[in-house]
Amino acid sequence: MNSLMQRYAVWKWGGTGSALVFFLLAWLFTGIASSYSDEESKSRFFLKHYPTFQIQFFDVEDSESDYVPFSELPIEKRAVILDYCKYRFGVTSAAAKEIEACRRHRTRAVPVQGKDRAN
């Protein structure tokens, strides 16, 4: 009887513990990239390169804005981009070249306005 109770306790607490560990890992390593383009909100799940409890990230390159060099962006927007690049693509460097490369990941197919425009 005693060993049955022990087995039940192991199964109960082991199962709960595993579920908690799984939940914690999922929380730490899963993120949602939110964006807004084509008049619709979009959300995509992704695996984070580094653990963090932050769930929502903003993919501001998937938007209807014009391209602005990173150094000319307001501080708030820069922080959002740095966050997204770090956790989505694993870019930890604050070097302009790497950040721009990370941003191009989203914008590579779209030339900057004026370059192929007659007027």
Partner: protein, 241 residues
């Protein structure tokens, strides 16, 4: 009239020219013609018997003016619909929702469009016309953005889960066929004519008609919206983007 204003009025009523002014260096007077033009557009709309609702009247959130970019010599107009989840309804609430999404998800400085037109044909001011919009990816310079506050996409447009759900609902008899109401159509045409009085507009297009927009699989302003834009373009003798 407050005392300060009385003093100012008295100054203008009684001031005289400086003595010997002909030999003085010229005095530079700057006129904010862009602010005056914004106001003149509003006046022209009202003179034409249409309702114009300014930002403060629909309860716009505060924008971020420090990072907004000036723009002025507009040559194109881009027509948008409000997305597949939109429908004719209370415009002020719709605009607040759109502005909130633009500022939160795109980290835009304000609502991206310059003007909005609801289903009753009322015109709403979006982003101040003196600032560049954020409504056509990488192509916002010199483009005025006008959003028609409803959905103008056919159920199957988009080809994603939303499109499948809409098509299914449509098949079993739910969901309406998108159509721009006549009041909205008339106002849009009149308003574009008014904008052409102030700017040298030569191009009119739906959002996805602008260069490089379809690469992202864009559907705005929907098939119904695009058909309307094409009609307008023919009637107003404007070019496609």
């Amino acid at each position: 009239m407050p005392k300060e204003e009385q003093g100012r009025a008295a100054h203008w009523a009684t001031a005289t020219a400086e003595p010997n002014y002909k030999n003085q260096p010229p005095v530079e007077i700057t006129i904010n013609d862009r602010a005056a033009t914004r106001q003149a557009i509003i006046r022209r709309v009202r003179e034409n018997g249409m309702e114009f609702v300014e930002r403060s009247d629909w309860g716009a959130y505060k924008n971020r003016p420090d990072s907004m970019v000036n723009d002025w010599h507009y040559r194109s107009i881009a027509i948008h619909h409000a997305g597949r989840s939109a429908a004719c309804g209370p415009a002020a609430l719709q605009l607040q929702e759109i502005q909130s999404k633009h500022m939160e998800r795109m980290k835009a400085d304000d609502i991206g469009y310059h003007y909005a037109i609801d289903c009753l044909g009322n015109i709403y001011e979006g982003r101040d016309i003196r600032f560049k919009g954020e409504h056509v990816r990488q192509f916002n310079t010199a483009v005025i953005g006008i959003v028609l506050l409803e959905n103008l996409a056919d159920p199957e447009e988009g080809g994603d889960l939303t499109a499948k759900a809409r098509t299914f609902l449509h098949t079993i008899g739910f969901g309406r066929i998108p159509e721009a109401p006549s009041e909205q159509r008339e106002t849009t045409e009149k308003f574009i004519k008014i904008l052409r009085e102030f700017f040298n507009i030569s191009v009119l297009g739906g959002h996805k008609e602008f260069p490089h927009q379809t690469k992202d699989g864009k559907i705005c302003p929907g098939k119904v919206g695009l058909a309307f834009v094409k009609q307008l373009r023919t009637r107003l003798a404007l070019s496609a983007p």
